[in-house]
Each structure stands twice: as C-alpha cells, then as structure tokens.
Amino acid sequence: MTLSQLAAGITVVLEENFRSPLWIKAEIAKLNYYPASGHCYPSLVEKEKGSVKAELRGTIWANDYVRINSNFLKVIREPLKEGIQILFRAYVRFHAVYGLSLQIIDIDSSYTLGEMAREKMETLARLKGEGLFDRNRQLELPALPKRIAVISVKSSKGFSDFINIIENNPWKYGISCVLFPALLQGDKAVESIRSQMELIGRYAHLFDAVAIIRGGGGEVGLNCYDNYMLARDVALSQLPVLTGIGHSTNETVVEMIAGYNKITPTDVAYFIIQQFHNFSGRLNELHENLATIANDILEEEKKRWEVFCLELATQTENLVRNEKRAILELSGSVIDGTGILITGQKHLLNLAGLKLSYKPAGLLRESRTGLENHWERFFLHVKQLLKQKNSEIENLNHKINLLNPVHVLKRGYSITYLNGKALIDCSEAKAGDNLTTRLYKGEISSEVKSLKD
C-alpha cells in the first residue's frame, strides 16, 4: 500500500463517519490569519489545568472569515483573535498533503461572548481573591493632582480633548501632563500599556496620578482592558489610576480596578479640575471662617472688656460712695469730738482770758486816769485860750461896730452918691447932675443947682 492509498482510505473513513458538519468547542491558540489571501488557519487547542489536552489545525476560507469576523465585531466588539474560546461548526477534512484539519464554516459569537464574560468574572474573582480589586481605589488622590502621567496616543481625539481642558482651564490651575504613548486597543495594547505603567512606576515619586486616556478610536478591541495582567498592574500601581477609555458597553476590569473611572477623557479632565475647585473652595471657606471667627473673637473680647469696664466703673463708684459715707460718718464723729474738744479748750481759754484780763484792766485804768488828767489840763488850757481870743474878738467887734457908717448916719451925717458912687469932692459933680443922698433912715434924690468949693 502506498502512502497515497492510505491517505485515500483515511479520507473515505472520515467522510463516512463525519459527513455533516459538527459543533466543536476549542480555544484559538494562534489565529494564523493571512491578509494577502484572506484565509485563516487557526491553531485550535483544548487545555486542562494549563496543559494542552488536544490540538488541531483549523481552516477558515476567506469568504467565511469575512462573514464570521464581521459578526464577531458586531456582537462582541472584538475581532477573531487568539486566546478566545469558540464554539464553531466545522467539517472534518483530511488531505493527503496537508493532513487533518477542521474547516470552520461558522462560529457562535454569543458563546464566545459568554465565555469572555465568564473569563472576566474569573479575572475579577481572582483579583478579589488576591486582594487587588480595591487596591488602587484605596490610594488617596492628592488634594491637588498637579502632575499627571498620561497613557494615551498623541494624535487621538481623546488625548487632545483632555489636554485642551487641562491646559486651557480659565482658573490657571497649574497642572502638568507628561505623555507616555501607548497602543490603547487590540491585543498589543496590553503589553504596550503595561510597559508604560512600568516606566511610570519608576518615576512614581514625580507624579500624582496616572490617566489612561482613549477616545475616537472606535468601540472595538477593548477586551484588552479585561486582561488579568493589565488589570493587575493597574491594581498594583503606586499612583491612583484615572481611566477615560470612552466606551458605552460594559465596564472593563481595568475600569473597575482603577481608582477613578470617569469613562470619557473630558470627564477625567473635568474631574482633575474639580479637585482644584474643591481645594480652592475649601481654602476660601477656611479663609472666610478665619476672618469671621477672628472678628467674632475680637468682638466678643471687646464686649467682655466693655462689660468688665462697666463693672469696674460701677464697683469703683460703689466703693467710692461707701468710702465717702464712711468718711462722712467718721468726720461727723470727728467734728463732734472736735466740738467737744474745742468747747473744752474754749472754756480753758476763757478761764485763761479771764485771768489775763485782770492785769491789763488795772494797767488800763491807770493809763486812763493819767490820760484823763492830761486831757483836763489840755482842756482848761484850750478853754482859757478860747476865752482870751473871744474877748479879743469882742473888742475888735466893738471897734468895727463903731466904724459902721450907720452909727455916723445916726448921728446926722449923710452920704451923697453920684451915679452910685459916694461923692467926696464937689468938683466931681456939675450942675444938673442927679444926686442921691443916703440918710440914717431913707434916701433923698436931688438935682445939683450950683456948686461951691
């Protein structure tokens, strides 16, 4: 029998036993997709406790591959890829040259979806079992996350949205971002992100947080964020991780593990800004409180002081009043006492005065008699003098009286007046003059007739 005869025989046996296509479960160990031809030759395995229990080669012809893959993308949002569990429909084929292979004509995407969900649950359970599930969330985000290590793609919309909000914040918050470029979706993302996480870990002391920012890259290939190793790295990061992976389906394991999952890049940016707002708000609050309370304390102290002053004044007044009264009372008794004392002293003085008055009185009396004697003599002398002067005046008076013309007139003499003037010389008058003649009693008016010398 030749080799080709044997191969032909095997083919007949297989075709007889596996005439219709079969539903088979396996894991895609290697995809072996050839874009040029469009054909795919996946390596299918069954594992048990980590070791391979069975391995067979599969074949997906180009047209089948396009159909199956687009269905996958629609249902699972992942392309056909290595490491996933599949339930597929296949013919068992045997070829004389290429040997045994399973020609896959269909893959049940919902089975894989379920498997992936199960794997995700297992990953989560494992992380929880290892105490890693809450690890990153327990890290405290600094009050001011000023230094952000950003894992993203420079040209992506997500990154530019994020940076735009951070750098152009109108409050001028000082936030520095350092980009650690990485692939953010697909199978290669796991290694890419992990290596950047490792690099950031080395500079951890220079950063406040890590932000994984993705956006604008479509909703496909996010299964990497359910990867255990990546999730583990995120969990063990020394820095709090913020995620803005931006998808609308179920939360991935990395997002669950991350300290702060904000879903979109802009939300991560606003979240960071919000921390600054919070800090600033608290600061202003403290500032206001400080001012208010300090003022209150001063005001209170002032009031207390005023009350104290008032109290002091009242107390002092009372004290003064009391003292005054006491002094008055005291002075009253002093006056009384003094009065008595003074009366006593007065009495003594009077006695003394009485005693004293005897002697001077005697002296006075003596002096008075002396004075009286002198006065009497002086008086007599003056009297005598006055008498003498009086008689002298009387004599003179008598003489003067004798000279009075009345006495001459009485004796018959008369006075002739011319024009009011006594006429002594007849030559002074002329005939016709009117004369007045004064007698002792009465006057005579006459006219001069003639003159005789």
Binding site: L144, R147, Y173, F279, L283, A294, I297
Partner: protein
C-alpha cells in the same frame, strides 16, 4: 523652610488652626499670631493652585531624549 511645605501639609495646618480658633482654644494673645500664620498658609495654598511643577517638565525632556 516655607518653600518646602507641601500644600497638603499647609492645608492640614490651616485646617488645624481654623479648627482651634473655631473651638475657641485660642487665647487673644496668640490669635493675631495664628491668624498671621493662617494667612500665610492660605497664600501658599493659593500659589500652589496655579504653580506648575518643574520636575515634571524635566522628566518630559528626559523621555524625549531616550
């Protein structure tokens, strides 16, 4: 020394001072001193809000070179 205080420390100290004053645990004698210190801390914190860290930009330079 003032330069090295972090905003976290400054904030903590500030909270402490304001707390003390709020609780009335402060004498009039130390009030002015405490208020002065608190004002200084507020100033530091406000500066921290807008100041950017230089060491991060240095890292960025370093990463570009490698």
């Amino acid at each position: 020394m003032e330069k090295q205080i972090t905003y976290t420390e400054a904030m903590k100290e500030l909270e402490l001072i304001v707390g003390e004053i709020e609780e009335g645990e402060i004498t009039i004698d130390s009030l002015s001193e405490k208020v002065k210190r608190a004002s200084e801390l507020i100033r530091i914190c406000k500066e921290k809000l807008t100041a950017t860290e230089e060491d991060v930009s240095k890292i960025l330079e370093g990463l570009k070179e490698t």
